[in-house]
């Protein structure tokens, strides 16, 4: 390491958990520091008079007042280049496999590990040639990183434009120079970017393309747009993590960044064990080939948890800048907010609601605002879709993190403990949830799925709404008191709930449902609905209609790999039994 100027080394004055106060240190806000003899990583979060407040990303036990603190003079940054895909990082982009090599099964302290492998060689193919003028953010070549991800090598957005004087093709490590500009800038396969600063783009574009998730209740009723934002709040055990995993698995994004922020270690292990085995329905390759994991589990240092969401979104923006559609799953943003609260408490800041810092709302807004469908500096279209899980204490949605999140995000998937208790999964409450993208995505569905799609969707939602109204009456007087037509409606609603809305995440076929299949199923249910009413007019009783032979086959058709013949056969059987030949 180079010799530091005087003033860039100071002394510890006080230690209180993850907060260290240094004196005699020259520092700017968010400078990265090395604390104590072990060189623990930390970040400047406050300056008070001559004192510098540092949040430390590692356990501070054993650190003493008087120990030295070194300021690197750099903000907390991530390394962006080949080697990101398939990797699993902690909250400050240290690769966990490297940490395991260095310190064993348990995470040690003061370990420096660069985000990208320095030894791996990548095959670089230039797309520009000598004499070409290149601008910041422009693509100068490619590296085939995995079978499915071609990484585009960009001129870093923070570099001045220039003319290429040298460019090489061949096999390089991330630190080799691959091109030189006339202004003297040497370009490499990677560059660094400070995590707290959003990466630049030309302009934001309207979100008019849905992120297809293969989850019926999400795609049909509450779709999220590419570049959109969604929140999944729910009490524990209601299926936040399973839903997030489903999105990470089946979303039609080209890159998935999964941030495990303050959650269970075994959940990350599950992703690590499962994703290499699962096949992406679009590419036929393992899902891991498009996934980056950031794992800062609940027992890892709290300050690094605060940083992890920024690390994740910066990586996502980098892939967006190549023109990819990126989906981020942040599980859970509540743990991130709590990390902020903990640091804020140590800083003795004036607390806002429930002890959260007053800047909670603005930090959440800033984070979600980094989502979007944009025109990149290179002229492509790329998007970052953010889906944040929220873990409200006691399942109470009126708490500050949920409320502040809902003010920003456009899609709200409300998880419901009652549905979960009866094993109705995904336990997303269809009456409470909403998507503000339904209107903007209408045209896409009409064009790409069917003209009837929007009408079918509206019809199904209406049936579910009507069911909720009728249920109130049923609760009081029993269903026998209802007129026959309403009892038939209850029956249809039951089919929508049990056949359509319930989707088995662990069933090999049902776990992913293409939009086409969604349309076929919904159309079939509408068809059954029409037959029910015809049969009722023809004089059949409600019990006869509800108990019609063929419903069982119909309910099972979704489990078939080749569902169409099964669906047709079941429909035919139902029709015959209801209406005769």
């Amino acid at each position: 390491m180079e010799v530091k100027e005087a003033g860039y080394v100071g002394e510890i004055y006080r230690i209180s958990g993850p907060l260290v106060v240094a004196e005699g240190l020259k520092a700017r806000m968010y400078d990265l520091c090395k604390v104590g003899e072990e060189g623990l990583m930390g970040e400047v979060v406050g300056l008070v008079g001559q004192k510098v407040l540092i949040q430390v990303y590692e356990d501070t036990e054993g650190v003493k007042p008087g120990d030295k603190v070194e300021n690197t003079g750099m903000p907390l940054s991530v390394e962006l280049g080949p080697g990101l895909i398939r990797n699993i990082y902690d909250g400050v982009q240290r690769p966990l496999p490297v940490l395991k090599e260095v310190s064993g099964d348990f995470i040690g302290r003061g370990i420096e590990a660069p985000g990208l492998d320095r030894k791996a060689k990548w095959e670089f193919k230039p797309l520009v040639k000598k004499g070409d003028k290149v601008k910041p953010g422009e693509i100068i070549g490619t590296v085939q990183e995995t079978d499915v991800v071609e990484q585009k090598i960009l001129v870093p957005p923070n570099v001045k434009e220039g003319v290429i004087t040298e460019i090489y093709e061949g096999s390089f490590t991330v630190e080799d120079t691959i091109a030189v500009l006339d202004n003297g800038t040497e370009l490499k396969l990677y560059h660094k970017w400070p995590v707290r600063i959003p990466r630049p783009y030309v302009e934001k574009l309207p979100p008019v393309v849905p992120l297809i998730t293969g989850q019926r209740i999400l795609d049909t009723f509450f779709p999220v747009a590419k570049g959109g934002t969604a929140a999944i709040p729910g009490p524990f055990g209601s299926g936040k993590t399973v839903t997030q995993h489903q999105l990470a698995k089946w979303s039609d994004a080209q890159i998935v960044v999964y941030i495990g922020c303050g959650e269970r270690g075994n959940e990350m292990t599950e992703v690590l064990e499962e994703f290499p085995e699962l096949e992406d329905p679009r590419t036929g390759k393992p899902l891991m080939e498009r996934t980056v994991l950031v794992a800062n589990t609940s027992n890892m240092p709290v300050a690094a948890r605060e940083a992890s969401v920024y690390t994740g979104i910066t990586i996502a923006e980098y892939f967006r800048d190549m023109g990819y559609d990126v989906a981020i799953q942040a599980d859970s943003t509540s743990r991130w907010a709590e990390a902020m609260r903990e640091i804020s408490g140590r800083l003795e800041e004036m607390p806002g609601e429930e002890g959260y810092p007053a800047y909670l709302a603005s930090r959440l807004a800033e984070f979600y605002e980094r989502a979007g469908r944009v025109k990149t500096l290179a002229g492509n279209i790329g998007s970052v879709t953010v889906v944040g899980a929220v873990s409200p204490p006691g399942g109470d949605f009126s708490e500050p993190v949920t409320q502040n999140t809902l003010r920003i995000v456009k899609v709200f998937w409300a998880l419901d403990a009652k549905l979960a208790a009866r094993r109705h999964f995904p336990a997303i409450n269809w009456l409470q949830s909403y998507s503000l993208y339904v209107d903007t995505l209408k045209d896409w569905f009409a064009e790409n799925v069917s003209e009837e799609w929007n009408e079918l969707r509206r019809w199904a939602m209406e049936v579910l709404q009507e069911e909720a109204n009728l249920q109130e009456i049923v609760q009081l007087v029993g269903s026998d008191a209802l007129p026959d037509s309403q009892r038939v409606l209850l029956e249809v609603a039951r089919i929508i709930r049990e056949v359509y809305l319930i989707q088995y995440a662990y069933h090999p076929v049902d776990t992913y449902c293409s939009v086409e299949k969604q349309y076929d199923m919904l159309k079939a249910i509408k068809q059954i609905n029409d037959w029910f009413y015809q049969a009722l007019e023809a004089g059949k009783t409600v019990d006869e209609i509800a108990g019609v032979e063929g419903m069982e086959e119909f309910a099972r058709a979704k489990f078939e790999e080749n569902y169409k013949p099964a669906l047709e056969a079941a429909l035919e059987k139902i029709r015959k039994n209801l209406l005769g030949e």
């Binding site: 230690i15 009490p235 524990f236 690590l272 794992a295 589990t297 204490p393 026998d480």
Partner: protein
Amino acid sequence: MKMKEYKTITQVAGPLVFVEKTEPVAYGELVTITLPDGSTRRGQVLDTSKDVVVVQVFEGTRGVDTSSTVRFTGDIVKLNCAQDMLGRILSGSGEPIDGGPKIVPEERRSIVGAAINPYARQYPREFIQTGISAIDGMNTLVRGQKLPIFSGSGLPHNDIALQIARQAKVRGEGEEFAVIFAAMGITYEEAYQFMKEFEQTGALERAVVFLNLANDPAIERLLTPRMALTAAEFLAYEYDLHILVILTDMTNYCEALREISAAREEVPGRRGYPGYMYTDLATIYERAGRIRGRKGTITQMPILTMPGDDITHPIPDLTGYITEGQIVLSRELHAKGIYPPINVLPSLSRLMKEGIGEGYTRDDHPQWNDQMYAAYAEGVDLRGLVAIVGEEALSERDRLYLKFADEFERRFVQQGRYEDRDIEYTLDLGWELLSMLPERELSKIERKYIEKYHPKYRKKEAKTEEAAEEAS
């Protein structure tokens, strides 16, 4: 060893002692305070600066005055670990209290365990048979899981924990679990019940007991679970043992945490509990698990009493967000005389999906589980309706579901304290209950399993077998 001794206590506030000093003191350092009468107290540095050091005293501050001597040991809190710990009874801070000899340490380990690298973990999959139907069938426990019992005061959570400790086994393996039992703030009577049971069954030989009783200092409770887990890690990873850790009662632990936080005048979170309680609990619960390439495992079963039976109270709430499910006890079932009073509806085991089915329990288990849940939930819902409109107004189908719910509680959930049911018995019992419903109601189970396990078909099968035998 360099001793740094000070007589510079400036303030004593609850469990905290403020010391002014000159030499630098490390964060987390272990402290000994000698009182004027010669007795000593142990503590730990919570906050340190060049001007003042804040020490939390584990054994309470009674009798501490400004003339007491404070010595900073230069060491952090460690536990003496050895294989000989098995069979011993230790205090809440790790000192032997069974009259036996001192534990000769093979290793002194910091009680703050480093976080397991998620990359080094192995996903838990081995089914543990507890012999309790409501757990094995409905909320299966696997080795390396952390599954708490959410209880209420006066409910038999201790009996359930003991029954699990007694019966838990991984089938096909002869190995028993070694039990580490950490008591925090429980009464002597409760502790006595555990000890007696351990002694009677001979389980004490394979157990380490940490006792912090209700009249022991509250602050010591902050150490107890960490001591217990340090012992668990030592035995699991050094001696390849499968460890079951029972922590009771976590509510008392959280109260101690709140006490310290209040004494430090920290900004409180919900209901006065500190904002970092989630992180703090995570550093305890996340120490369960399996590690790739290591044989030993740590399974955790924390017990907590929900204040006012309120599952949204911060203690059960934060616990539920960290642990891999929960077993919830119900006062209503207890009042009906049902043991174990496990309410399966809010209960959950997040890891069961990977630990059940073919090769683990039995092929029909996953779908059987869905169906049992749906049927019982439906029956419980109908009870609400019956209360309003009377049973007469129900349809035939609804009445069957009502009956199912009753039978489910009476026959499936209810069992003896010493009744050890194997998983086949549990599943078959479930099938027997399901056969009360018309077959078309079993929509969550595939045809092939119905034909294989439904009593109707099994009887036929048995009959044809008999007939074949007679013919021969």
